[in-house]
């Protein structure tokens, strides 16, 4: 960990990119995290009719324009999968899937709404047998029976890691394809419904069967904002913000689809701009 960035912007859709551009104009040291190709959602959009200045633009074209804008302003994108954002007081610590850590004085969330709906009982048992982090909690399941719900082949490595510690491991892939798993892991092709138990997780309910387990690890590609940023205040499925795009956590701002409907590109870009300016204001008071 060498530098503390002024602002970490998470998300490379219109909201995050717009925030990054404004921050760059304001001469801030930024870390833009996301995908080097921007947002696949924008790229796949057929045609957009209400983006100012670009009538009837295809998603592919718009996305290309976004990337070109970034290139011109010399804003690099760092491809990292952020697993947690910790509010440490006067700064934020961001941890990645590869166990790297970044520090930033302020954070702008523009991660969109591509996280799935939680399973039945998932939130209720979070911390009582439901976990999102295999590397964090695995040692607590030494010799026990656990189930892992994996949303992508990347999670197979996590399953193998857990299998080294746990007594029995079930792996339930929610994607199609060949599973490359060694060890004593039982792959179960079924659809997860929910978790049940009295005080602790006792069962994972699947469409066709029930598994008796001590713990359930739910490993998703995108996590909900509440599990990404512990302590953040939600409004239903969205992050609660005010007109300045401030969340309940000082120095943490949100913009774009994550703050709620309407899910419009130009609204997201506008909110990114507001979030960036609010972050600049916050930084000036910090020093």
């Amino acid at each position: 960990m060498d530098v503390r960035y002024d602002v970490a912007v998470i998300g490379t859709g219109p909201a995050g990119l717009s925030a990054a551009i404004t921050l760059k104009i304001r001469n801030k040291n930024i870390l833009l995290l996301g995908s080097k190709t921007g947002s696949s959602k924008v790229e796949k959009a057929h045609e957009i009719h209400n983006y100012l200045g670009l009538p009837a633009v295809t998603g592919e074209k718009l996305s290309g324009q976004f990337m070109e804008h970034l290139k011109q302003m010399e804003i690099p994108i760092t491809e990292e999968n952020i697993t947690s954002v910790y509010a440490m007081g006067d700064y934020f610590a961001l941890t990645t899937k590869t166990n790297r850590m970044y520090e930033a004085s302020a954070v702008i969330l523009g991660t969109g709404v591509n996280f799935g709906k939680p399973y039945q009982g998932e939130e209720q048992f979070l911390g009582s047998g439901v976990s999102y982090c295999a590397t964090c909690d695995a040692p607590l399941y030494k010799g026990k029976t656990v189930a892992i719900i994996g949303d992508s082949p990347k999670e197979e490595a996590e399953a193998e890691f857990l299998a080294e510690i746990a007594g029995k491991v079930y792996y339930i892939p929610t994607y199609k394809g060949t599973i490359n798993i060694k060890n004593n892991i039982q792959v179960v092709w079924d659809i997860p419904v929910g978790v049940q138990g009295e005080y602790q997780v006792e069962k994972l309910i699947l469409k066709k069967q029930e598994l008796e387990v001590d713990g359930v690890f739910i490993l998703r590609e995108a996590v909900s904002p509440a599990s990404l940023v512990p302590g953040i205040k939600m409004d239903g499925n969205h992050v609660e913000v005010n007109r300045k795009m401030e969340t309940n956590l000082k120095g943490c701002f949100a913009c774009g689809d994550i703050t709620g409907t309407p899910y419009q590109y130009i609204k997201a870009a506008g909110e990114g701009n507001v979030a960036a300016i609010s972050a600049v204001e916050y930084l000036s008071k910090l020093n």
């Binding site: 007081g89 166990n99 976990s131 964090c136 607590l140 512990p230």
Partner: protein, 103 residues
């Protein structure tokens, strides 16, 4: 200050007053992030005693309180379990969670 205790010391330590016991381990990332924040909170809330328990060495104590995810903060009042809060939380949320036991 957050004081490290063992399972043997536990009963006597939490017998009186309000105690917050942080169950954690060195290999757990969120635990390491929570530690400095909890330390700050302990300096603000001096009416509460703060302790740390290593789940690797004090497994029995962790099992007794059904700790299955860490970091877990066990709140005790006069030797009685009040609640367990799981996961990292920012300073303000921690203070809010603990304060109600000393008011």
């Amino acid at each position: 200050m957050v004081k490290k205790i063992t399972g043997k010391e536990f009963e006597d330590t939490v017998k009186t007053g309000v105690s917050v016991v942080d169950f954690s381990a060195g290999w757990c990332g969120p635990c390491n992030m929570l530690a400095p924040v909890l330390e700050e909170v302990s300096q603000d809330l001096t009416d509460i005693n703060f302790y740390n328990v290593d789940v690797d060495t004090e497994t029995q104590l962790a099992v007794r309180f059904g700790i299955s995810n860490i970091p877990a903060l066990l709140i005790m009042k006069d030797g009685e379990k009040k609640e367990i809060q799981v996961g990292f939380q920012p300073k303000e949320s921690l203070i809010e969670a603990f304060k109600k036991y000393i008011d």
